[in-house]
């Protein structure tokens, strides 16, 4: 089960029965628009606040995934979810709607893979037959909480990232057809002293490096084992640092298999500066784009390294640096 210091190897390989991705108006103009199950034209989703809109995104992602998996919500033994809003309200309120056993998670933008790895562990240990793992983020709700009002005219630096409006969900089961979760590496919190909330890519890059190194060290594996290795939301600045640091530590990942969800999701002409971020970033790209490619047989082995910046609006005002984390999950077809 435990291999090396921090990697879980799943003998029974939990199956990802189905996945779903829901996005907003900005995502519908992006590169991966076709991989979403539902795309909304309205930032508000017909709700009267951004927070309610985010809850709606998550509820829809859960609804769609249950339908695709062909199971009822009563079959879900555990619902694992996390998001960026204070006290993870989007997750807990969605759990209220679903009325299934629920464990709330917080790993900031790494919540997607945190949920998937913990869910796989629950399936593996027979604590659950069906696990629903989900996460969401909403651009305006995150901006409101972490930065300035959305309509405020402050100029953002070129290192800033755009929070994805989207939610992703996956149903895990013991048996069935679909991609399987083979192992997961749980990351350590790494803080290299970056305190600029407009440069989270640079803050999170060392955490991604640490987890990727741990993954290959624990499993005694070579990066070429995978068809794609994707980091969660480092953006162009963080991703470049991540690649350089890995090379510096003697771990060369071939350029053609190494990518970042935060760079993939939007087109170059969209005004997102360094790229995308948020829980919804790695969730929608993994559950929407990568899972489709796996089911179509284009990918066999995938490693997702979801990165998270564990800051709060108060911590950076108090001049604290940004602690970061990354969790890696290996999915094979």
């Amino acid at each position: 089960m435990l291999k090396g210091h921090q990697t879980w190897v799943f003998k029974n390989k939990p199956v990802i029965l189905a996945t779903s991705a829901v996005g907003g108006p900005f995502e519908s103009k992006g590169t991966l628009a076709e991989d979403f199950d539902i795309l909304h034209k309205d930032m508000w989703l017909g709700q009267d606040s951004f927070e309610k809109a985010e809850k709606k995104l998550l509820e829809e992602a859960c609804e769609v995934v249950l339908e695709k998996a062909g199971i009822k919500k009563e079959d879900i033994n555990v619902f694992l979810s996390g998001d960026l809003l204070n006290q993870i309200i989007s997750s807990s309120f969605t759990a209220r709607t679903l009325a299934v056993p629920y464990i709330g998670l917080f790993g900031a933008c790494s919540s997607s893979m945190e949920g998937l790895s913990v869910g796989s562990l629950l399936i593996e240990s027979k604590a659950a037959d069906y696990v629903l793992a989900a996460t969401s983020s909403h651009n305006a709700a995150a901006e409101k909480q972490f930065r300035y009002p959305t309509e405020y005219g402050a100029q953002k630096p070129p290192t800033a990232q755009w929070t994805v409006t989207g939610a992703g969900a996956a149903v895990l089961a013991r048996d069935g057809e679909g991609p399987r979760v083979t192992c997961a590496t749980i990351g350590r919190v790494i803080d290299m002293g970056i305190s600029d909330p407009f440069n989270m890519g640079a803050a999170m890059a060392p955490a991604a490096v640490d987890t990727i190194q741990a993954h290959f060290r624990d499993l005694e594996r070579d990066p070429s084992y995978y068809d794609v290795i994707a980091t969660g939301d480092l953006g162009s600045v963080g991703f470049e640092i991540c690649g350089d640091l890995l090379a510096k530590h003697g771990l060369d990942i071939p350029e053609e298999i190494f990518t970042d969800c935060g760079i993939m999701i939007y087109k170059d002409d969209q005004p997102v500066l360094a790229g995308a971020s948020g829980c919804g970033c790695s969730a929608t790209v993994t559950y929407g784009h990568f899972m489709r490619r796996m089911r179509e047989g284009q990918l066999k082995r995938l490693l997702i390294v979801a990165t998270g910046a564990l800051l709060s609006p108060m911590s950076y005002q108090q001049k604290e640096s940004i602690p970061s984390i990354a969790h890696a999950v290996s999915i094979e077809m």
Binding site: E151, G153, T159, I194, S195, A202, A205
Partner: protein
């Protein structure tokens, strides 16, 4: 970075800070200045034009025309904020749209819109000055300090 903060960081962290700094795309400072000059100048020219209109057609004098002029600029700024255009202009113009009175109107209007969902009292009322509050606080404080200095110099026969 301040000295105090640097002391708290380990050598590895400091090394990484430098490393990350090199990889940061630079802010286009010169270009930002040019844009700020152009847009800021444009807003001021518009203000000047408005003042002229109020003086020529509405019977204001040079002292009193300032009030309706700023009022018109504020209304335009608030409208553009509400229509969701102002932040896009500001990303391009930078300081050009922040510094004039239009920027101040934008801080209040954007915060008011943002917190409408928490109600009129605790939401709009409580958060409207979230960003503009410091400007008022320190504006009033420094005006007080400067006037004290002026009075002192005057009393000592300096002016």
């Amino acid at each position: 970075m301040s000295k105090k903060k640097k002391k708290r960081l380990t050598p590895t962290q400091q090394q990484y800070q430098q490393y990350a700094k090199q990889r940061e795309p630079k802010r286009p400072v010169f270009l930002n200045c040019v844009r700020a000059f152009l847009v800021g100048g444009l807003i001021c020219t518009l203000g000047q034009g408005l003042q002229w209109i109020f003086m020529t057609y509405f019977g204001f004098d040079e002292m009193t025309a300032g009030n309706p002029t700023s009022a018109v600029l504020i209304i335009i700024s608030v409208l553009l904020t509400g229509l969701g255009v102002y932040d896009h202009i500001a990303q391009w113009a930078g300081a050009g749209t922040i510094i004039p009175v239009t920027g101040f109107a934008n801080t209040m209007a954007s915060a008011a819109i943002e917190h409408r969902s928490e109600g009129y009292v605790l939401g709009v009322g409580g958060n409207m000055f979230k960003i503009s509050g410091p400007v008022i606080t320190y504006g009033v404080f420094f005006a007080f300090v400067v006037s004290l200095i002026k009075i002192m110099i005057k009393e000592l026969g300096g002016m």
